[in-house]
């Protein structure tokens, strides 16, 4: 089961991928390296591989998701796994006990890999303790979304050659963003300087202790940045609770061509999607020459293939 491009690497010492915070820098690099090698697979006519043949992958999504769920599904299928999608309406789930019941039920079906998204921070960890298979965190509350950080790192590295020494700005609703947390940890581990930019109402207390410089003024924060990562602003945050209105948010924190002009001339723009055009990002920028948004989706499949393959190699019956 050992493919030639991974044979030289150190063993991956984890059963699950629950968060970037559990990974050492060289483990992050190893996953990105392996993903790099998967990109070509998806670009060929024959996309099918066999490393997960016979394996069962269940995508358990307690929170609606289009792109992450389909990305994991495609990744599993291209590696030859049998993939099953379980979308659980969050209204029918009653927190801890039912979650554990769900885990017990699924465990009895002997899956090999469980990909889980849940609206509550820590829910994926709880589930991982109750099942015997490998668990991949596809997003838990405002905690972590490790494969997003890996695909972002891969995308950046492909364009900038390295991540070390780059200045990366993460902009917008940091308080409610798992993407921000995973990226802050990953980018710091890989040697980038990380900034967060947004209104103070969307900055969680103590964020500066996570290794970021905090800015509230978009233009000042973007100065000399190599990478501008925009975060999605959820609709329910827009009506006066955290920010007063969409138009005020866009005016002061929405990324348009003028604000982007304060970053480096070769700065690149990223967004984890789905975008709110005209809220956090101007369509002109989203579709412009500095945008990597479409490429992020492609890298998402490669990164998830690398993660699934790596975990499968370390399953007890591998």
């Amino acid at each position: 089961m050992i493919s030639p491009e991974t044979s030289a690497r150190a063993p991956f010492a984890h059963k699950h991928l629950l968060g970037i915070e559990d990974l050492a820098p060289d483990e992050i690099v190893a996953l990105i390296d392996r993903a790099e090698a998967q990109i070509e697979v998806s670009r060929q006519v024959e996309k099918k591989r066999t490393v997960l043949r016979g394996r069962t992958q269940i995508n358990l999504f307690f929170e609606a998701s289009t792109r992450t769920q389909s990305s994991f599904e495609i990744a599993g299928k291209r590696l030859g796994a049998d993939v099953m999608n379980m979308s659980v309406a969050s209204s029918s789930v009653k927190k801890g006990e039912t979650l554990i019941d769900t885990a017990t039920t699924l465990n009895a079906m002997h899956p090999d890999i469980l990909v889980v998204r849940h609206h509550a921070a820590g829910a994926v960890h709880l589930l991982a303790r109750k099942v015997s298979c490998s668990v991949v965190n596809a997003g838990d509350g405002a905690h972590e979304h490790p494969t997003q950080a890996l695909l972002d790192a891969l995308t950046i590295r492909r364009h900038k050659g390295t991540i070390r020494g780059l200045t990366v700005a993460i902009c917008g609703d940091v308080a409610h963003s798992r993407v921000a947390r995973s990226n802050i940890i990953a980018l710091n581990a890989l040697g980038a300087r990380v900034r967060v930019i947004g209104p103070s109402t969307l900055m969680p207390r103590g964020i500066e202790r996570l290794g970021v410089d905090v800015f509230t003024d978009m233009r000042r924060g973007l100065a000399d940045c190599d990478i501008v990562m925009m975060l999605r602003l959820q609709r329910e945050r827009m009506a006066g609770a955290f920010v007063p209105s969409v138009r005020e948010y866009f005016h002061f924190w929405g990324l348009d061509q003028e604000k982007l002009g304060h970053a480096k001339p070769d700065a690149l723009v990223m967004h984890p999607g789905p975008m709110n055009r005209g809220v956090e990002i101007d369509p002109e920028v989203a579709d412009g020459p500095q945008s990597l948004i479409a490429e992020q989706v492609e890298m998402g499949v490669a990164v998830r293939m690398a993660v699934l393959e790596t975990l499968a190699e370390h399953l007890p019956n591998a």
């Binding site: 209104p199 103070s200 007063p244 209105s245």
Partner: protein, 444 residues
């Protein structure tokens, strides 16, 4: 951003001749100046003000006024004025309020947003500034609402409103009951350096009260408002300011304990200021007498001990400025049994005259008074007035500190006559008011 061009003002005297006021006592706390000297006004700005102002000689064609026995002060900046326009123009308009202001020595009015409609949208700030520019004889800077509709729930577009010209954010007569809303507003406003002004009253504790809680209320048989309605809200706000490091202004305080709370907060380095209304400085609950509804205010007039503590707070700088809290109410809202009457009193025209009582009594000095009525509010709100330094706009007043007069309610320029000083005797009045060098009020 603001209506600062001299041409915007409908001065009573349309000429632009230089003006020289000679031999007057000049009090200008912005420069620590209190001396007899000369004030020279050229092209709507202060050319010189002080003992050496005539070093350059009298400008050609100047009007020269003998200032002997008079004072020249920077024009007053009144940080709490309810105008009633838009919505209740029969009570007061920008035009009528501004004439009352000019007569009282007020050259800048800071207007409150709880009108009808509430000033909670950039287009409405723009409306206020245009109406004021077209109809008012003094400067007008609006405060915008802090929450939409002043309902205490959703915060307004602080950034866009500030860009439109709002100088601070407040819900006017209303308090923000939710600590979470106030916390977010302070946090968000800080990103823009915006000031939040708050009416400090816990409305659940104030309940149906209409006067200060205590013996006097009990004798009158009226429901009382405990001092704690103010101090609990003020304490809460101090904690939130410490948490958020926001910029905060207590719109009005009235109790001795409030002064202590502010003193402690300032001692901890919080970015906090506070104002007291002229009524709370010069009147106490006993002045209500037999249910005089013109003295029904929010917060209520307190006991004499509170009044004395508030004066002390003003004298030592714990309380930063004095406001008129000018609140025009008409017969329909005031000629009711006390408890059913609206709160509020007019105060623009009597602001300086009433405040001079404190000076004549020796309770505060001229410099403290002028700082509280002009220099400090201008500085706190980021306005260029409040000073007589060369180059500043010539917003100034000439005051005769000795002339005695009795207030005739019917002679008030305000459209509403609900003054708490009916038939009161005053010593000292404003002889002449200049805004951007133009005379907008002249006595007799």
């Amino acid at each position: 951003m603001s209506i600062s061009e001299a041409s915007s003002f409908r001065g009573r005297r349309g000429d632009d001749r230089p003006l020289v006021i000679a031999g007057a006592r000049i009090v200008d706390p912005s420069r620590d100046l209190d001396a007899v000297g000369t004030v020279v006004v050229v092209d709507g700005r202060i050319a010189a003000a002080g003992p050496d102002a005539l070093n350059q000689g009298v400008p050609d064609g100047a009007e020269v006024v003998d200032g002997a026995g008079r004072l020249v002060l920077p024009g007053l900046v009144d940080a709490r004025v309810f105008v009633s326009e838009p919505g209740h123009e029969y009570r007061e308009t920008f035009a009528s309020a501004s004439r009352a202001a000019a007569a009282g020595g007020v050259t800048t009015m800071i207007t409150m947003p709880d009108t009808d409609p509430v000033i909670d949208d950039p287009a409405l700030v723009d409306f206020v500034m245009r109406r004021a520019r077209d109809t008012a004889v003094v400067r007008v800077h609006p405060m915008a609402a802090l929450t939409r509709g002043c309902l205490g729930q959703e915060m307004v577009e602080i950034g866009l409103l500030q860009d439109a010209g709002a100088v601070a954010f407040t819900d006017g007569r209303r308090s923000v009951a939710s600590a979470a809303t106030m916390r977010r507003a302070l946090t968000y406003a800080r990103d823009f350096g915006a000031l939040i002004a708050h009416h400090v009253e816990d409305s659940t504790l104030a309940g149906s009260g209409v006067v200060n809680e205590g013996e006097f209320a009990t004798r009158l048989g009226l429901p009382g408002i405990p001092r704690e309605a103010e101090t609990i809200m003020l304490e809460r706000d101090m904690r939130l300011v410490a948490l958020t490091r926001g910029r905060y202004h207590a719109a009005q305080v009235s109790t001795a304990d409030s002064v202590e709370i502010l003193r402690a907060a300032k001692g901890r380095g919080l970015d906090v200021t506070a104002a007291v209304s002229i009524a709370h400085l010069t009147l106490n609950e006993l002045d209500i007498g037999t249910y005089r509804s013109f003295l029904k205010l929010s917060p209520p007039l307190r006991a004499e001990d509170d009044r004395r503590a508030v004066i002390e707070g003003l004298a030592d700088g714990t309380i930063d400025f004095v406001v008129s809290s000018h609140d025009p109410q008409d017969v329909e809202t005031k000629r009711h049994p006390f408890a059913e009457s609206a709160d509020g009193a007019v105060g623009l025209e009597t602001l300086l005259a009433a405040a001079l009582r404190l000076v004549h009594n020796g309770e505060i000095g001229w410099s403290t008074l002028v700082a509280a009525l002009s220099t400090r509010p201008a500085a706190r709100l980021g306005l260029e007035g409040g000073t007589l330094k060369p180059g500043a706009p010539a917003d100034l007043i000439v005051v005769d500190p000795q002339v005695s007069w009795v207030l005739d309610r019917a002679a008030l320029l305000s459209r509403s006559k609900n003054t708490p000083f009916e038939d009161a005797r005053f010593e000292g009045r404003v002889l002449r008011t200049l805004v951007a060098g133009r005379t907008v009020h002249a006595y007799r």
